[in-house]
């Protein structure tokens, strides 16, 4: 799309999205609410060192050229303006992948997760005498020896300034109590990671739009919710990402918890735990790998001697958005389907 002419009066260039047109055709087009977006803005251009005064701090931001509206409903409004009742908030929480536990540790090279497409690939062609390394998730919910079992998205304030610590309570209005998770519906589904004996359960609140993007809404305390609160040690299970008893910990213990369990130095929010699964089309066929993917070779994931000699893979993302703050985290996922293996 071209840039909008910003030489004269401020204008609004409005279009229906493809989804809007589809709903118009279906007779259920109803506009109910609005949001304001700022996706072109790079706030790092806010220059507080400009010696001419604070009226000039945002000079470069105000000169940002704006693109015409896209019609894809998935391409715009990625970052929205937020209403908070207080004006004295200096720190806002963000989302991060937790990499402190092996059970949710991402692949270091990918900075995301390898998702094994089917059981044949995951078992290394029926070899079970070793455990998959961290960063490898199984796309089929079965009991195999696994190091990494789920993905954890932690919410928190990434700063210890002004005396903030993990023991400091986060403002309730900033706490994420629900998340939207967007995935390509051709490739992935999402399970709640509940932990304990139950392990996982499919997330049920899902809508799929005209572009084939599935949106899962996971809410705290609703159904098999996989959201763990900041002071929720009762949900601690061995080998899983869990929450320690922060409230009764002394300073030494707090420091230990911060270093070994948490990815934030400041106040903690909720934790979302999910397990991505592959769709039947991904498990049983290579057609999507041929269309969307690439070929790879010699991937070791069960120790140094057991791996996948030949495989196909698809790179995709899982997009997680906090409903409260609108903050979005994109998690890289590499779906791997092997065709030749090396036994240990």
């Amino acid at each position: 799309m071209a840039f909008l002419d910003n030489s004269g009066d401020i204008i609004l260039d409005a279009v229906l999205t493809d989804l809007g047109r589809k709903m118009l055709a279906a007779g259920n087009f109803r506009i109910h609410k609005f949001a304001l977006g700022d996706e072109e803005i790079d706030y790092s251009l806010y220059n507080t060192s400009d010696t001419r005064g604070n009226a000039f701090y945002d000079l470069e931001i105000m000169q940002t050229p704006i693109l015409e509206a896209f019609t894809s409903d998935q391409s715009l409004m990625k970052s929205r303006l937020v209403t908070l009742t207080q004006n004295n908030i200096l720190y806002m929480p963000i989302l991060k992948m937790n990499n402190k536990y092996n059970s949710c540790k991402p692949d270091a090279n990918l900075n995301g997760f390898n998702l094994i497409a089917d059981t044949v690939t995951y078992s290394g062609n029926n070899v079970f005498n070793s455990v998959a390394e961290a960063g490898f998730l199984h796309g089929v919910p079965r009991e195999y020896a696994s190091t990494t079992t789920h993905i954890c998205i932690d919410q928190g304030i990434d700063s210890s300034d002004n005396g903030q610590s993990i023991a400091t309570r986060m403002r309730p209005e900033l706490l994420e109590t629900a998340f939207d998770i967007k995935v390509d519906a051709r490739l992935l589904t999402i399970d709640n990671f509940i932990g304990g004996q139950t392990k996982t359960a499919p997330a049920t609140t899902v809508t799929i739009d005209d572009d084939g993007i599935a949106t899962y809404r996971i809410q705290q305390g609703v159904g098999d919710s996989s959201i763990v609160g900041p002071y929720d040690p009762s949900r601690a299970f061995a080998g899983e990402r869990s929450r320690e008893d922060i409230l009764s910990a002394d300073q030494t213990r707090l420091t230990a918890i911060r270093d070994t369990s948490e990815v934030f130095a400041g106040p903690l929010g909720n934790v979302l735990r999910i397990a991505p699964r592959t769709t039947p089309a991904i498990q049983t066929s290579t057609s999507l790998f041929t269309e969307l993917g690439s070929d790879g070779a010699d991937l070791l994931f069960r120790g140094v001697s057991a791996g996948i000699d030949v495989y196909k893979y698809i790179d995709t993302t899982i997009s997680v958005t906090g409903i409260t703050t609108g903050y979005t985290l994109d998690i890289p996922i590499r779906i791997i389907k092997g065709s030749a293996f090396t036994s240990p």
């Binding site: 909008l4 002419d5 009066d9 401020i10 204008i11 609004l12 260039d13 409005a14 279009v15 229906l16 989804l19 809007g20 709903m23 087009f29 109803r30 506009i31 109910h32 609410k33 609005f34 949001a35 304001l36 977006g37 700022d38 996706e39 803005i41 706030y43 790092s44 507080t48 701090y57 945002d58 105000m62 940002t64 704006i66 693109l67 509206a69 409903d73 715009l76 970052s79 929205r80 303006l81 937020v82 209403t83 908070l84 004006n87 004295n88 908030i89 200096l90 720190y91 806002m92 963000i94 928190g156 990434d158 700063s159 300034d161 209005e173 809508t207 400041g266 703050t325 609108g326 979005t328």
Partner: protein
């Protein structure tokens, strides 16, 4: 609770209707003479004829090309029942598509004029006054049917103008120039304030010949159809002197002679070669929903933009002396998203430049969606 959506109430939305006009000029050279002749040497490449022969289509480019746009159709016909009609004399002519011309006339008349109380199709009335015997009828008619691409919702009243060459073909040695020695301009002058509404096809105006002010046709605005009497090419008092239209197969024929003695395609060819200019303004009716997206002073002052924070600290609060937390937050609006109740993005509006939003100001962004 932090929120990023705001519900639109009834006070935040309204509807409006706007009429948009475009000027449509059609030059005569486009209608005849610009493009190469087809292999049969009868017509240019932008003229499409049909095996049924009931009308001829004019395109703005050789019609076989996907770039071609349909401009208008030409057809002609006459009444079979009205006093003074041609059918009785023409019925003996086996080459002149009598039945098809009558069918065309009746079809156009029933759509544009409707029926009388006896369920008989009304003929085209010269002045639109249907009282009594109705006065003069256009029993022998030429039809110019403009495409929806040009007309859009309707032709703007009072904007129609048609220039026709009306000299006899024998007046000049160059047959392409001969018709234009004498040119008549036909308009719907006065129709902006005076038009007829007694047609089932919507509103229509009277086409008048400039100078003589004779009623020579009708223009149906919503249908986008001009109906001309075949006598429009004539000259003299009350257009009573016949003009020689062509030296072709029906050599020496007048318009009325060609209407009975030639096929519709041949007659349409002769008409095309006499069109100098056609122009009108079309009308597009835009129905708009207007949404007033109001951001109050205490709303939308923070952002979820990943660059908004550095180490979780809000950038736009940093850097000034004193307690940074007390500095007012700010954010910059570049787009407005309109959502369904279940958070589906239905429409997007982009601002041409960022707008600063902070607790010291309020914004009302007016988003108009046209249908």
């Amino acid at each position: 609770m932090a929120i990023s959506f705001k519900t639109l109430t009834q006070k935040d939305r309204t509807q409006s209707r706007t009429l948009l006009h475009e000027s449509i000029p059609i030059t005569g050279t486009l209608v005849s003479g610009t493009y190469n002749l087809q292999s049969n040497l009868l017509r240019e490449d932008n003229i499409k004829t049909f095996s049924h022969g009931m009308f001829q289509s004019v395109y703005d480019y050789p019609y076989a090309s996907s770039s071609a746009n349909h401009i208008f159709d030409i057809s002609a016909g006459f009444s079979s029942s009205h006093t003074g009609s041609l059918s009785a004399s023409a019925a003996t002519n086996t080459v002149s598509q009598v039945a098809k011309k009558v069918n065309i006339y009746n079809q156009m008349a029933q759509v544009l004029c409707g029926y009388d109380t006896n369920s008989t199709v009304r003929p085209f009335d010269a002045d639109g006054d249907l009282s009594g015997d109705g006065g003069i009828k256009h029993a022998n008619a030429i039809f110019l049917n403009f495409s929806r691409l040009l007309v859009k919702d309707e032709i703007k009243k009072g904007s129609f103008s048609l220039e026709l060459g009306t000299s006899s073909i024998s007046n000049h040695t160059n047959q392409s120039l001969a018709p234009f020695i004498g040119v008549k301009t036909i308009t719907d002058v006065g129709s902006l304030t005076s038009y007829k509404v007694n047609s089932p096809a919507g509103e229509y105006g009277i086409l008048k010949e400039n100078g003589t002010n004779l009623n020579v046709g009708l223009i149906y605005y919503q249908a986008g159809i001009a109906v001309l009497t075949s006598s429009v090419f004539n000259s003299g008092a009350n257009n009573s002197v016949h003009t020689l239209m062509t030296t072709g197969a029906a050599a020496g024929d007048s318009a009325i002679g060609m209407l009975t003695g030639s096929t519709i395609d041949v007659f349409a060819d002769a008409i095309r070669k006499r069109i100098k200019n056609v122009s009108f303004n079309n009308t597009t009716e835009l129905n708009s929903s207007i949404f007033f997206c109001r951001a109050n002073h205490d709303e939308f002052n923070y952002s979820s933009n990943p660059t908004y924070l550095t180490g979780s600290k809000i950038r736009v609060k940093a850097g000034t002396s004193g307690n940074e937390a007390l500095n007012p937050p700010s954010a910059y609006v570049t787009s407005v998203g309109l959502y369904s109740p279940d958070n589906k993005l239905l429409a997007v509006a982009k601002l041409s430049e960022p707008l600063r939003k902070d607790p010291t100001n309020e914004l009302t962004l007016r988003v108009r969606l046209d249908y």
